[in-house]
């Protein structure tokens, strides 16, 4: 086998040469035989038993991962020691020149994060260099690198936080984030499609909300509906909707006139009621889905605390009672989904009765709960491991 330094050089040359690389995989040596031949237009020399590069995809054989990693660590460490930050003024337009030490460190740190996506020191090396540059293209390329890493390592905390660092930098120096926010949303959606309930991806999206305009928030809510309907068990998705709704409700209560078409209370109320209606539709269609009922808890909580008055409250509770009653069954011998639905409906109503709300509202809800029958016994029957809990929560 070649020297590991030589192998590293081959990897780094591929990474440098293919600027639109969008997928990387580590594969078993035997799988190399199944891949198409490498692109003919390759001017690079590399060992085709260990590397494969075509159509902006890169495959690396398991066989060479350890020597590659060790070489990358060693080279990166050396380059980091040799690197001395210089401060550049941001007066000039256009691309900036790189020092030799910067080029080395960028090259070796890139190889290292490709091999070990969660190696924080390597990502930091890149931040050190980028801190002293002002070219927007550089920062966008860095987002591209993070996207590449996330394509095969979607939980990589380093890759996600690197994105946030870049975005904060761009926000500080260049101001216009709308296009970037849009791209980030697309990226997160793509990743969440492939890797369900990826906490880091959704957390990143929640983080982005504070950079969104009201219009972007409303657009997201509307665009995400279809996606949510296709992923009704995705609690993270519904939490994200809640995050957006909180933003809408906050805007209304602080009277932010950022977007005048949506700062009226009646609009917000009907928006929330629309979400409740849609949620009910899904609950009836997709039986026994926890994420849907949890979403309903939040919606009801918000509605009750913000918009309930005597007349509206009765109608609201009538509707909730109606929904809960149709979901309750008395026999725990039913099919799992139906049983789950009964359990979730009962738990939902009990939860409502515990809401922090004005005394007269709580009185109304308690009254309705008694109408629904012995909810506590039903919950104990279905979920006996929580008996003590149900009993302490019961009315």
């Amino acid at each position: 086998m070649e020297e590991s330094d030589d192998l590293l050089l081959q990897l780094e040359q591929i990474l440098e040469n293919d600027e639109q690389l969008d997928e990387i995989g580590f594969i078993h040596p035997t799988q190399f035989a199944t891949l198409d031949t490498n692109s003919d237009s390759h001017s690079l020399q590399f060992n085709t038993h260990f590397f494969w590069n075509k159509d902006h995809k890169l495959a690396i054989s398991f066989e060479v991962l350890s020597p590659l990693y060790r070489a990358a660590v060693q080279k990166h460490s050396c380059a980091r020691r040799n690197y001395k930050p210089i401060v550049r003024s941001c007066s000039k337009e256009g691309s900036e020149e790189f020092l030799g030490s910067e080029i080395d460190l960028l090259r070796h740190s890139k190889a290292l994060v490709v091999l070990s996506p969660n190696f924080p020191t390597a990502w930091n090396s890149r931040k050190l260099i980028l801190s002293n540059h002002h070219d927007l293209t550089l920062f966008l390329n860095e987002l591209q690198l993070s996207t590449l890493i996330l394509s095969y390592s979607p939980k990589s905390e380093c890759a996600w936080s690197h994105r946030r660092w870049i975005i904060k930098l761009i926000a500080k120096r260049f101001q216009n984030l709308e296009a970037i926010i849009r791209n980030e949303s697309e990226l997160v959606k793509k990743i969440c499609e492939k890797f369900k309930m990826n906490y880091r991806a959704w957390n990143h999206w929640c983080w982005l909300v504070s950079y969104m305009t009201t219009q972007q928030v409303l657009d997201e809510l509307s665009k995400l509906r279809k996606w949510a309907e296709l992923h009704v068990a995705d609690n993270s998705c519904f939490h994200f909707r809640r995050r957006l709704l909180v933003r809408v409700l906050q805007n209304n209560s602080t009277g932010k006139a950022e977007d005048t078409s949506f700062n009226e209370e009646s609009h917000t109320c009907s928006f929330l009621e629309g979400e409740l209606e849609w949620n009910e539709l899904l609950i009836r269609r997709y039986v026994g889905r926890e994420a849907l009922w949890i979403h309903r808890r939040f919606l009801s909580h918000c509605w009750i605390n913000k918009f309930a008055n005597d007349s509206k409250l009765n109608m609201f509770l009538d509707r909730e009672m109606q929904l809960v009653k149709t979901c309750l069954v008395s026999s725990p011998d039913e099919f799992n989904d139906i049983l789950a639905q009964a359990y979730l409906a009962a738990a939902y109503f009990l939860w409502l009765s515990k809401l922090q709300a004005a005394p007269q509202i709580r009185y109304e809800i308690h009254g309705r709960l008694r109408e629904a029958g012995d909810v506590t016994s039903l919950l104990v029957k279905i979920s006996p491991e929580k008996t003590l809990f149900w009993q302490s929560m019961g009315i």
Partner: protein, 314 residues
């Protein structure tokens, strides 16, 4: 199911402490200090810490310290970060070797990471997460240097991450997650601020983590995982609601996740083991007073005798 295979788990942990050359082990190098905390605390809980020579460990830990900032990296030559700094302090505490530290320097590093709004960054690059709030508060408390930060603001920031479901996320508005909840509750416990939590509401969210198989998950609609035996359980204990879950079923679930042949515990039955899940499985059993294990402190995640030594020895 049966018993906790203490001997097997001890062997497993000791074997992974030794350097390994396979790629999977190599890509864990950068968090070796965390790994040391998981492995050594698990050993101590099983009364097996005597199998490890403290001097070598202490020397290695100190060489992970970044001399300029005072913080610790995950391994020798790695950049400092608050996460590894806590692990360093915790492991030194287990060996009763906190004297190896320049306490002012380390605590200055941690305290220096607090932001205006009370939150904590993980390192100089500014990522904010409630985990770092816990890490900072736990670390400074163990070093008796909590006064170096603005505790009130730190608490206010944590409380700002509370969701309507009673849980906590990484940042304000982030999804509630059992791991983040442990961090927030632990930090509030250490700073005497548990009154800022609605215990019934949070307890509700937490006890809903118990699934039919007896195990606990970390969020709604997710699979059970042994590590949540720690995070959910300890949170319930700290808010005094642990009677809301079935501890017998949980114990059985954890014991089912053991690899009785090779040692170690996995995230769920019949999966591959790792030191992370081994620690959390043992810690969860300790919280439930499994016979033969040392008691673990729910907030500091260290054996109680270690914590007592720090706070009650004059």
């Amino acid at each position: 199911m049966g018993e906790l295979a203490v001997e097997k788990h001890t062997e497993y942990i000791l074997s992974i402490e030794k350097r390994k050359d396979d790629f999977e082990s190599l890509v864990m190098e950068h968090l070796r200090l965390n790994g040391a905390y998981w492995g050594l605390t698990a050993l101590d809980l099983m009364h097996k810490i005597g199998s490890v020579k403290p001097d070598d460990v202490v020397t290695w830990i100190m060489s992970c310290q970044d001399k300029d900032s005072g913080g610790f990296g995950g391994n020798i030559g790695h950049d400092p970060h608050i996460l590894y700094t806590l692990s360093a302090v915790q492991v030194l505490a287990i060996f009763d070797r906190l004297d190896a530290l320049d306490v002012e320097k380390v605590s200055d590093y941690v305290a220096g990471l607090q932001n205006e709004d009370g939150s904590f960054s993980g390192d100089m690059w500014g990522e904010i997460d409630t985990r770092f709030s816990y890490v900072a508060i736990c670390c400074l408390s163990l070093l008796h240097r909590l006064r170096k930060i603005n505790v009130e603001k730190a608490v206010d920031f944590i409380v700002s991450c509370k969701n309507l479901d009673g849980g906590f996320g990484c940042i304000p508005g982030g999804e509630s997650h059992a791991g983040q909840i442990f961090c927030c509750v632990g930090a509030l416990a250490i700073t005497g601020s548990l009154h800022r939590i609605d215990r019934d509401l949070l307890g509700w969210w937490l006890c809903e983590r118990q699934c039919k198989d007896g195990g606990l998950n970390g969020r709604p609609e997710k699979l059970t995982d042994v590590c949540y035996s720690w995070w959910v359980l300890t949170s319930l204990i700290m808010i005094d609601r642990v009677h809301w879950i079935d501890k017998d079923k949980l114990s059985k679930f954890i014991l089912n996740c053991q690899d009785l042949e090779n040692g170690g515990i996995s995230d769920r039955p019949d999966n591959a083991v790792d030191v992370f899940h081994t620690f959390f499985g043992v810690a969860g059993l300790s919280l439930m007073e499994y016979p033969g294990l040392k008691t673990i402190d729910p907030a500091y995640a260290l054996p109680v005798d270690v914590v007592n030594r720090i706070f009650f020895r004059k």
